[in-house]
Amino acid sequence: MTANDPLLTYCLRLGDDALILGHRLSEWTSRAPFLEEDIALTNVALDFIGRARLFYQYAAELQGGDATEDTFAYTRDVRDFTNLLICELPRGDFAFTIARQFLYDSYALLFMQQLKASQDARLAAIGAKAEKESRYHVRRGREWMLRLGGGTEESHARLQQAMDDLWGYTDEIFEVDAVAAALIAEGVAVDPAGLREEWHATVSSVLAEATLRQPSPGWAVDGGRRGIHTDDLGFLLAELQFMQRAYPGLQW
């Protein structure tokens, strides 16, 4: 699938982030530590999958032809997905899921606040809706960070481990390549580099409040936006796409 249109490429990136992270969250359904949390994680998953649909629907209109939102979700291979690597990492334990959500949601809130000012009316409308939901996600994530960080020795250790494991994946969030740069110049895309300082300040303050140590930078990876992924994404897609691959065009 070629995407020569920068706006289409951009929509797919945002849609892929949302779909893949939403799928990881949905894996907790019926497996969360207790009922209320099970419902909460499932609801957050639903928010992200809803977001993915909006970006893919727009992408389908930009692409034209027979493309629908499902074309992008179900018929592309690993190398065509351009989500951030942090979104595809396996769900891990509960601390890992909470740590990832907190790091990602803190960025997503700032991102959506800016996206709602996009010159592209459709992206702006999505940003305005998603911002409201992200605000809730961040609030909930912060509470869990404090509870796990200040909880037992075990919960503290697991959350610290998760932060250390995830930290190197946060660098990629703020990268700007040529596609993004062109759209940023037109006022269509959000400049993630401009969000980094505020993101860092929010995250640092919650880490301190949760009595966690800030991971020391020393390594970073990237590749997601170019279709270079971890092994894990292939397994995720194998499950996500199974029905459409086995029975193309299947309807409920």
Binding site: E36, E37, I39, A40, N43, V44, L46, D47, F48, I49, G50, R51, R53, L54, A121, R122, A124, A125, I126, A128, K129, A130, K132, E133, R135, Y136, R139, R140, E143
Partner: protein
């Protein structure tokens, strides 16, 4: 008593929506759709909820404009089907539904009457300006949050410290 206690202050987009209905050429269609309730809170209509944004008829086709409460809310599809069913029964078989994201839905559009219906139904109504929550059963403000998400994305789960009953809050967004 300040003016805002006497006259509820409305967001501009909500005022525009109410005007669209008041000045509509198709008041009977709006009225028919008053029978379509939120599938999860079946005492509030799509209009009262703020989901139904506009009604038009173009070349014999009824065109409804609806806005989702939450992006991933699966109830939107049920609402759409229910609206189509009501209109089909009333002699409007051809219905087109446009989903509009902007202006983004907010609980600030809920009327006072809708908030009272919610409370009577057992769901605490949102209070956008104060964030204060009262138990819909006994009115106590001695409440605590159990979970940020209740049975649906739009609700949070609370517990009352006075009457000890659990309840849902329609979250202010």
């Amino acid at each position: 008593m300040t003016v805002s206690n006497l006259i509820p202050l409305l967001p501009a987009e909500e005022l525009a929506r109410r005007r669209r209905r008041a000045e509509s050429q198709w008041p009977e269609i709006w009225s028919l759709l008053d029978a379509v309730m939120d599938p999860e809170i079946p005492v509030i209509s799509l209009y009262e909820l703020g989901v139904l944004q506009d009604v038009e008829v173009r070349d014999g086709v009824v065109v409804l404009t609806m806005t989702p409460t939450y992006i991933g809310c699966p109830a939107l599809q049920i609402m759409e089907e229910d609206a189509r069913a009501v209109l089909a029964t009333a002699g409007y078989p051809v219905v087109e539904v446009n989903i509009s994201l902007s202006p983004a839905w907010t609980t600030a559009w809920l009327t006072t009457a809708a908030r009272e219906k919610l409370t009577r139904y057992g769901v605490a109504a949102p209070r956008e300006r104060t964030d204060k929550v009262s138990c819909p059963q006994c009115g106590s403000s001695d409440v605590s949050v159990v979970s940020e998400f209740g049975s649906t994305a739009c609700k949070a789960l609370y517990r009352c410290g006075n009457c000890l009953e659990p309840f849902d809050l329609l979250k202010a967004i």
